[in-house]
Symmetry: C2
Subunit: 223 residues, 2 copies
């Protein structure tokens, strides 16, 4: 169990913690979890290393806060523009998946921190992260899938939570592969110079996802 910082009485304290978390995000993003040194973060802020431990208990505790902040900085499913949402669930999915690379470049630091949290720390931390993700649902996947069901686009014949998990798993895997060479099973970075084929693969992926989740249509004739 990783200690959480207790709520500060003072508003000033909160500001300071935010500054630390901010610097930590940058360091973790740039150096990785192991590579980031608590001392460097302290030095960057001109404070004593001890202070950081005072506030966050441990390096893992600090990372956890950085991770949470990072996730909250990223868009949730329902943050798509209205005109996209009005086209429905799968259009929204496509919207986000198509914009993956773009988004990552815009928000490099939080994305990197999230990535590190997902794959590059250790299982104790991962457990804590997972609990939080489940309890907070910061990407709003649950709500999003329910919305898709209400629109009649998403199937309702299997457990909701399975669908939610599938969306999470697949979108994560795809985005990670698209964006980070470390995690790409050769789908995209091998084709770095063929953006057309990359696009095609994302489309194929979207096709598969839709096949998996779409509500069965009453015998619409295939073309």
């Amino acid at each position: 169990m990783i200690a959480q910082p207790k709520a500060p009485r003072n508003a000033k304290t909160q500001v300071k913690r935010d500054r630390i978390v901010d610097a930590a995000m940058r360091q973790f993003a740039e150096q990785g979890y192991q590579g980031a040194k608590v001392e460097d973060i302290a030095a960057e802020l001109g404070i004593a290393k001890g202070s950081i431990f005072q506030h966050f208990g441990s390096k893992a505790g600090l990372f956890l806060q950085a991770y949470k902040r990072a996730v909250l900085l990223l868009p949730s499913w329902q943050d798509a523009p209205d005109d996209v949402r009005s086209e429905g669930f799968f259009a929204t999915v496509r919207f986000w998946l198509d914009r993956t690379e773009h988004l990552i470049k815009e928000d490099w630091i939080p994305n990197r921190v999230v990535l590190i949290g997902n794959y590059g720390t250790d299982l104790v931390l991962k457990r804590e992260i997972n609990r939080w993700l489940v309890s907070e649902d910061p990407y709003g996947t649950l709500e999003f899938v329910e919305w898709g069901q209400q629109r009649g686009e998403v199937r309702t014949d299997v457990d909701l939570e399975i669908i939610v998990s599938m969306v999470d798993w697949l979108s994560n895997s795809l985005q990670d592969a698209l964006v980070t060479e470390e995690l790409d099973p050769g789908l995209f970075h091998r084709l770095a110079n063929q953006p057309e084929r990359q696009r095609m693969r994302v489309e194929h992926f979207e096709t598969l996802l839709e096949s998996a989740l779409a509500a069965p249509v009453a015998d619409s004739p295939a073309p």
Copy 2:
């Protein structure tokens, strides 16, 4: 880049390395990556810590070997019994997914090591692992999917590699969730006392996977 051990001239050396990797697997499985101490591994074998570094260069190098060994100890898709395979691609998928928990208990150590390699080390190591997984395909997913296509069960209208990745991603995610509390988004461990609902969820998952990948049938009437 993580140094690989160079091939030993001596057969005896190989035996010794195997012993080290063996002990390392146990320690990593039981203590986690950070928790496992090189010194403990050496002590367990009654050798000097320096020797381990001699052979494997670094803790990460040792882990990499342990990981590879662990993966090779696990069954590949095509290792299903003949009577299952004769029922086809999706039957084989179901066979493995249904046996997940059982398998993990049988092969706890390699499974745990693989898990740690997948989520609990760092991105440098992860990259190395990924390269290896892609180049070796130790689970034979590529071959397996091609086999499914040849049988006419798996769709052929999207890139093969996308399908392969999807199978890998989803089966990994499901198995991890089923088996390790740390990674379960509440799908299974929250229902620990309701094995029936757990089974049902696995079935639902299989349904989704099949919907995603199945070759389109020539307008079979839905019930």
